[in-house]
């Protein structure tokens, strides 16, 4: 096979997963660079930023808008769902590939196209779109308001294409999990990470329809002058907000669930424990998914919706804390009675629990309508959702990469470098966002490119907090170079790993490392659930799913 057939136009789910992983990480690097630039502007306003230059108001807006869009749509989604979903689903259910391998390839190609369009939008006249990642009209609908006639349309086009890519991927995931499982694998024998990815795909498919419709309406408003969101012609700008957040809130759980799944696999393996209450996890996941469709308007408490409606959404939003808290408790309970090995992957998985708890608790401030009047659109919100998204999209992803790296490339990553990388990620992450809770509570609003014109906010004390956050961003980014070096060096030079280096139970560890096209020499047969660790009376403390008695 030529290089092109093998690595570019491959239909092998592992290659496509790897393409998604590397593209996603590349986009993540671009998104991180953006955050570096605008954090520098906030800490040292008006000064030239090294490796960028002077940041103007419009560039600042374009940077924050695209940082948000990239990190959610082009980093979290492709890495968590597409990369891990593609790589893991066939391997963990004992199949040779996805059910629709060509749709899978098409999905990646559309995704890549959308990423290219987004990058191009920075280099057109007027620059990148700067109307926030939520793209509220009328600002996003009219060039005379946003002053980025090309940027806003290209941004919207990229987002719409990206959704199409993930719809195709989602169909594939769901069908594959339902139809291609190894002989003997019952629903309750499926590893929890696959359930999570598939439930997330279902959530995505059920919620994205309104937003695709909305995106096309908004494109029409921009390009051919319709008035769907123009109040002077009978439209309603708030309609967009409903369409956006009806998708936007389930989206949070779309990325959360795969991350929780990855953490479950890593935690059970390295604490040598059965997952506490598998069925409870599964049912609370479904409950969270269903409930997540009834909370979207908490983003719009003060956006001019009927104030009575806020009460209903306060109830549903605060109540969603129940299934989420229950899931986290189950995870914590899994550690009880374990024998915990502190590998790099495990450190990241435990850090996920510790930090996501902060994100969860601070969410209640925002879900409680009365408190949200003050916190809405402040840095408190920023700190809150980064305490959910960074654990999800960065910490859990690192846990997954360190854990499955031996399977992906047949080699280990360096554990010492990995642990340095862990502390260099975990500590600065907290010193970025803990200060932002305080600046937010002191009244710092989002998307403000200089506080010079607000005497109450331009105080030295608040500025110190902003500088702490910015310095932490720089430190965190520096430590990621260590990861990349470790990643690429280990890919070729790392210590060789066998089939099952972590003594885990699930089926991917039955295949050779790295698995060839077609995955398994002999298709495995499944006899038990995925988490039978430390079963009394057995010599080994693990019991692979395919091992007969």
């Amino acid at each position: 096979m030529s290089f092109w057939q093998k690595y570019v136009f491959s239909v092998d789910h592992k290659v496509i997963g790897m393409q998604y992983l590397l593209t996603g990480i590349l986009m993540g690097v671009i998104g991180a660079y953006m955050s570096y630039v605008f954090r520098m502007q906030l800490a040292f306003p008006g000064k030239e930023v090294p490796f960028f230059g002077l940041v103007t108001a419009a560039e600042y807006n374009a940077l924050i808008t695209n940082h948000g869009s990239i990190m959610i749509f082009w980093f979290a989604m492709p890495v968590l769902i597409a990369a891990f979903g593609n790589f893991l689903i066939p391997l963990m259910i004992g199949a040779d590939d996805m059910v629709f391998p060509r749709i899978n390839r098409l999905s990646y190609q559309i995704f890549l196209l959308s990423a290219v369009i987004l990058i191009v939008s920075f280099f057109v006249p007027g620059g990148g779109f700067g109307g926030a990642w939520t793209a509220y009209p009328p600002l996003s609908a009219k060039a005379e308001y946003n002053l980025t006639p090309w940027g806003s349309s290209l941004w919207l086009l990229a987002v719409a294409l990206e959704f199409v890519a993930f719809l195709l991927g989602g169909i594939n995931f769901i069908t594959t999990l339902m139809n291609s499982r190894a002989k003997g694998m019952k629903y309750l024998d499926i590893p929890i990470v696959l359930w999570m990815i598939v439930i997330a795909s279902i959530l995505f498919m059920a919620s994205v329809g309104p937003l695709i419709a909305g995106a096309i309406m908004l494109l029409f408003d921009q390009l051919i002058g319709t008035g769907f969101f123009d109040p002077s012609r009978g439209g309603d700008p708030v309609l967009w907000q409903h369409l956006f957040w009806f998708f936007g809130h389930p989206e949070v759980y779309v990325v959360l669930l795969p991350a929780m799944g990855i953490v479950a696999e890593v935690m059970t393996t390295f604490s040598r424990k059965k997952l506490f209450a598998y069925k409870t996890v599964l049912f609370t996941t479904i409950a969270t998914g269903v409930l997540s469709f009834f909370v979207w308007a908490h983003h719009q408490f003060i956006a001019g919706i009927d104030p009575r409606m806020a009460n209903i959404f306060t109830v549903t939003t605060v109540l969603i804390s129940i299934p989420i808290a229950e899931m986290l408790f189950v995870y914590i309970a899994t550690l009880y009675g374990g024998s915990i090995r502190f590998t790099t992957a495990m450190l990241f998985a435990l850090a996920f629990l510790a930090t996501f708890l902060i994100g969860g608790v601070t969410g209640i401030f925002l879900g409680a309508s009365g408190a949200d009047i003050y916190f809405h659109d402040t840095y408190f919100v920023i700190a809150h959702f980064h305490y959910t998204f960074v654990p999800i999209a960065v910490i859990a992803v690192f846990a997954g990469i360190y854990y499955w790296f031996p399977k992906m490339f047949g080699r280990f990553m360096n554990e010492t470098l990995g642990k340095i990388h862990f502390w260099g990620t975990f500590l600065p992450f907290n010193t970025i966002f803990l200060p932002l809770f305080f600046t937010g509570a002191a009244g710092d609003h989002r998307r403000i490119f200089t506080y010079a014109n607000f005497p109450q906010l331009a105080t030295p004390g608040l500025q110190d907090l902003r500088i702490i956050a910015t310095v932490s961003v720089v430190i965190l980014i520096c430590f990621q170079f260590l990861f990349f070096w470790n990643f690429f060096y280990s890919m070729f030079r790392g210590a060789k790993a066998g089939k099952n280096p972590w003594n885990a139970n699930t089926l991917e560890w039955v295949a050779p490392s790295p698995p060839p096209h077609g995955n398994f020499d002999v298709f495995p047969e499944v006899y038990r659930g995925p988490y039978e660790f430390s079963v009394p009376g057995r010599a080994q403390d693990f019991w692979p799913q395919n091992e007969k008695a």
Binding site: A132, P307, I322, A325, G370, I373, H376, Q456, F533, D541
Partner: protein, 229 residues
């Protein structure tokens, strides 16, 4: 303890205190569970770290006596949630749904990228010739209940006065009514809290909360300027 929010930012309106109390209660109830969860997590990590020769236990978590460790906290959290919901809705009702009778009304108009305010002037009625229009500077009297009529000429804006704990989006084509009652004199920031274009970050305003005497004095200087035109 309950007033820690006012250490971060002055509370200068009647409902600022209510919102601060709600925030404090959420912090107490949420913080309690957060501390417990983090504490248990750290305790388990330390206690059950790998030791040579000690094997992990086999716990399915599906027996009743095991599940009670999940169910009890979860029932108690439900109780806390209900308490938070009741407090939140109560505060929300007082701030956004109830409209106490007004002593005076102001028009607040957002545009890219400035705030315009119409004060009712000496007669206290909007829409009369003695209205005083200003840009960026809003003057109000301490201790009076104000209604505001929020409008925008172009895109979405958000009239936000952090010291009042007040925030409301403005929407083109609509006039949104809200209220506030200042309790503290001084000059405070008004911000725009909804992305409104390249000038969003510098769309500033100032609210001057004044005693009736100061306010009257300001009003008379404004009317002189108006007459000179």
């Amino acid at each position: 303890m309950l007033d820690f929010m006012s250490l971060l930012r002055e509370s200068a309106s009647t409902f600022a205190r209510d919102i601060d109390h709600l925030i404090a209660w959420v912090a107490i109830l949420g913080g309690f569970w957060w501390l417990i969860a983090e504490g248990v997590l750290v305790w388990l990590i330390v206690k059950f770290r790998h030791k040579e020769g000690v094997r992990a236990q086999y716990i399915t978590g599906e027996k009743k006596e095991e599940m009670k460790w999940i169910h009890w906290p979860h029932n108690l959290i439900l109780l806390c949630d209900v308490a938070i919901i009741i407090m939140a809705i109560n505060v929300w009702y007082n701030v956004k749904q109830k409209l106490p009778p007004a002593d005076d009304t102001i028009r607040v108009i957002g545009q890219q990228w400035s705030w315009r305010f119409v004060h009712s002037g000496k007669d206290g009625i909007l829409g009369t010739p003695d209205d005083v229009e200003t840009v960026e500077d809003l003057h109000v009297q301490v201790g009076k209940t104000y209604h505001f009529k929020l409008e925008t000429t172009d895109v979405l804006h958000n009239f936000s006065v952090p010291v009042f704990r007040l925030k409301q989006d403005s929407i083109p084509g609509r006039v949104i009514t809200g209220w506030f009652k200042p309790t503290m004199t001084g000059t405070f920031d008004i911000q725009c809290a909804e992305m409104c274009g390249i000038g969003h970050g510098i769309m500033m305003g100032r609210i001057h909360v004044q005693t009736p005497e100061e306010y009257d004095q300001w009003l008379s200087t404004q009317q002189k300027v108006a007459q000179s035109h």
